[in-house]
């Protein structure tokens, strides 16, 4: 029997939080893992014994039964009846307590279950992070979204009025009218430099142009290209400017010249101009993508740019074919994980490199045929050994300086080095005469050149979403940071400590 216990503080009065949580049929409105919920047999949602039927964002189904509900103690208990995972004997309860000092809410979510021993850690992590912690963030976001549209006097202070605890996040309440100037919280880069240049500011949001829509972001993607914008390596951002090229959200207002989009539409984008690190923004809708119900915001924000990039890297920059030998660096990173899964699906032999044993395990699970820990072993030699001296047909290298020479050495005759980033620094100057020894091709693709019109972008988006739906690729739950802590996200990304995608929550 394992026990999981997670708790947090939500910066809202207990009645508001309880109103959300006591609805046994409401998870599909806020929890990212749940795409659909209904109560079986039309029972009332607060009838103890009611059974709810969930369809998960990944397509799985489960049934849970309400065991206890107390408006007095703000407590709710339920058990799992059927699930796609072996969470045997899963009984969970959540309870709220008021934090009178600041009028906030303590929320604890706990459970007990019997996992099979070999899946214990994985399932505990799933419940802890994928269900409970994800639920905390989702309710926080839901309340924040509501606070934008509901008047502030909905929150009456309680008996003991004392200053807010410093752990809590102050809310902004603003009104939004199309065509009217307003402000938004955003991360502003006032000059090129390190992560410390990412500062949260209240900035003006100009009136909506006729050919623009206004988007309220729900989740913002963090990509290495944002680092290049911050440092000035790419001139996509001119200081003072807001970085970020990927986000998911909801359309809040539509200019009169826009067609095909309406207020309330769920959309995502992965394109310039920069400006995603903000609660809200205006932008032209040409490169916006409609999200269908089976694509959660978080997956779109964490995966769209990387998925589109993976699509053109594997289908356009180089067309990966059955039997190809594909070398993928930084394979545990956000885009690396997609490349590994997708290249394998395309029938290639995948050789992945990673910086640590932990990352090696992740990449093995994704289906890489061979994984090389490049801090321990010369990867070019390893590739030659693994391929019987032939080398790789294509190398996908976004690491740059540390790996570029090795990638060239690991290629087969007529091999193709796709250098699509330089996380470890610029690759320096190379004499292309040396490439003749094996007739090598080098590509240095730029995301914009493959995605800057709806015609170029649409096939990659369609192919990526289809790959998600069919389970060809999976986007793992991203690591979340508050928008205000964007600098931490950049530090972690640049230190190569992270695996998978990073997102910011406005």
């Amino acid at each position: 029997m394992v026990q999981v216990r997670q708790s947090t503080i939500i910066d809202a009065p207990i009645d508001e939080v309880w109103a959300i949580l006591r609805d046994f049929n409401g998870h599909d409105r806020w929890h990212p893992a749940i795409s659909f919920s209904e109560i079986e047999g039309g029972e009332p949602v607060d009838a103890v014994g009611a059974v709810r039927h969930f369809r998960l964002a990944d397509g799985g189904e489960l049934r849970e039964q309400l065991l206890a509900l107390s408006d007095k103690d703000h407590r709710l208990s339920y058990c799992l009846l059927e699930a796609p995972l072996p969470l045997m004997g899963y009984v969970a309860s959540l309870r709220l307590k008021p934090v009178t000092d600041g009028n906030a809410t303590f929320w604890e979510w706990r459970s007990e279950f019997n996992p099979p021993a070999h899946r214990r850690d994985e399932l505990v992590k799933l419940v802890t992070e994928g269900i409970y912690q994800a639920g905390f963030s989702a309710v926080r976001n839901l309340l924040r979204r509501r606070s934008v549209v509901s008047p502030i006097d909905a929150r009456q202070p309680r008996a003991v009025a004392v200053p807010m605890p410093s752990a809590s996040v102050p809310r902004t309440v603003s009104t939004v009218a199309p065509g009217q100037a307003s402000t938004t919280k955003a991360i502003l880069v006032e000059r090129y430099g390190g992560p410390e240049e990412l500062q949260l500011r209240e900035i003006g949001l100009p009136p909506l142009e006729p050919n623009q829509v206004r988007i309220r972001h729900t989740v913002i993607g963090v990509n290495f290209i944002d680092v290049y914008c911050r440092t000035g390596f790419f001139d996509l951002l001119q200081p003072p400017g807001v970085p970020g090229m990927e986000a998911a959200g909801v359309i809040e207002a539509v200019g009169p010249a826009v067609s095909g989009f309406s207020v309330g539409d769920r959309v995502a984008y992965a394109c310039p101009p920069v400006g995603a690190y903000a609660e809200r923004r205006n932008m032209a809708p040409e490169l916006l993508v409609h999200l269908s119900n089976d694509i959660p915001d978080e997956i779109a924000a964490a995966g769209l740019l990387k998925g589109v990039a993976a699509s053109f890297l594997l289908h356009d920059v180089h067309v990966v074919k059955r039997g190809d030998i594909v070398l993928i660096h930084a394979a545990a990173g956000g885009i690396g994980q997609l490349l590994v899964q997708w290249a394998r699906h395309l029938g290639a032999t995948v050789i992945a490199t990673v910086s640590s044993d932990d990352k090696a395990r992740i990449v093995e699970r994704l289906g890489a045929h061979h994984v090389i820990v490049y801090s321990r072993e010369n990867f070019a030699e390893a590739v030659m050994r693994l391929t019987g001296g032939m080398g790789a047909n294509v190398a996908y290298d976004a690491v740059g300086n540390d790996t570029f020479a090795g990638s060239l050495a690991a290629l087969a005759v007529r091999g193709h080095l796709v250098s699509f980033g330089q996380a470890s620094g610029p690759v320096g100057n190379w004499d292309i005469g040396r490439f003749a020894s094996r007739s090598l091709t080098i590509s240095r693709p730029n995301y914009a050149h493959y995605t800057d019109t709806p015609e170029k972008l649409a096939p990659h988006v369609a192919r990526f979403f289809q790959a998600l739906r069919q389970g060809v690729v999976r986007v793992e739950a991203p690591t979340r940071y508050d928008l205000a802590n964007a600098a931490d996200a950049h530090r972690d990304l640049e230190s190569r400590r992270t695996t998978g995608a990073l997102v910011l929550l406005p």
């Binding site: 708790s7 503080i9 303590f106 605890p165």
Partner: protein, 145 residues
């Protein structure tokens, strides 16, 4: 029966906060209104039934009996035997709950008592604000915020 409930987020792990507040004789170390404290009859401070006798900085004297102490639940209950406040059947509980998100602590302090109807509002304020919240705020500052 009148009830008072106050809760606060303390910016430190529960085990650390508990180390400080479990000492039934330790109020002068963190509650700003307590001048000195002793345990009567030479008893141990974690002996259930022991009585603490403490003086307030304003000169008042209070005697309280330890009713329950749980290192498992991180909670401590006690009853007032004597005090300058005109309360009867006063039982209070101070309890801690870990907040895993950020490794913080929820501190809850609640009391139930009987009193004259016309004194109820003043006593609720005095106990909820003047005693419990004041002490919890001192705990918050002590642990850094």
């Amino acid at each position: 029966m009148t009830k008072v409930y106050v809760s606060s987020v303390i910016p430190a792990p529960a085990a650390e906060v508990w180390k400080l507040v479990r000492n039934f004789n330790g109020l002068p170390g963190w509650a700003p209104f307590v001048a000195e404290s002793r345990i009567e009859q030479n008893a141990q401070a974690d002996q259930i039934g022991c009585i603490r006798s403490f003086t307030l900085k304003d000169g008042g004297r209070i005697r309280e009996r330890l009713l329950a102490l749980s290192d498992y639940d991180l909670s401590c209950s006690y009853a007032i035997l004597e005090s300058p406040m005109a309360v009867e059947n006063y039982v209070a509980t101070l309890s801690l709950t870990p907040i895993t998100d950020g490794n913080l602590t929820l501190a809850e302090w609640q009391a139930e008592f009987d009193c004259a109807a016309d004194r109820e509002a003043a006593l609720m304020h005095q106990i909820g604000n003047g005693v419990f919240q004041t002490a919890l705020t001192a705990l918050k500052h002590r642990f850094g915020r």
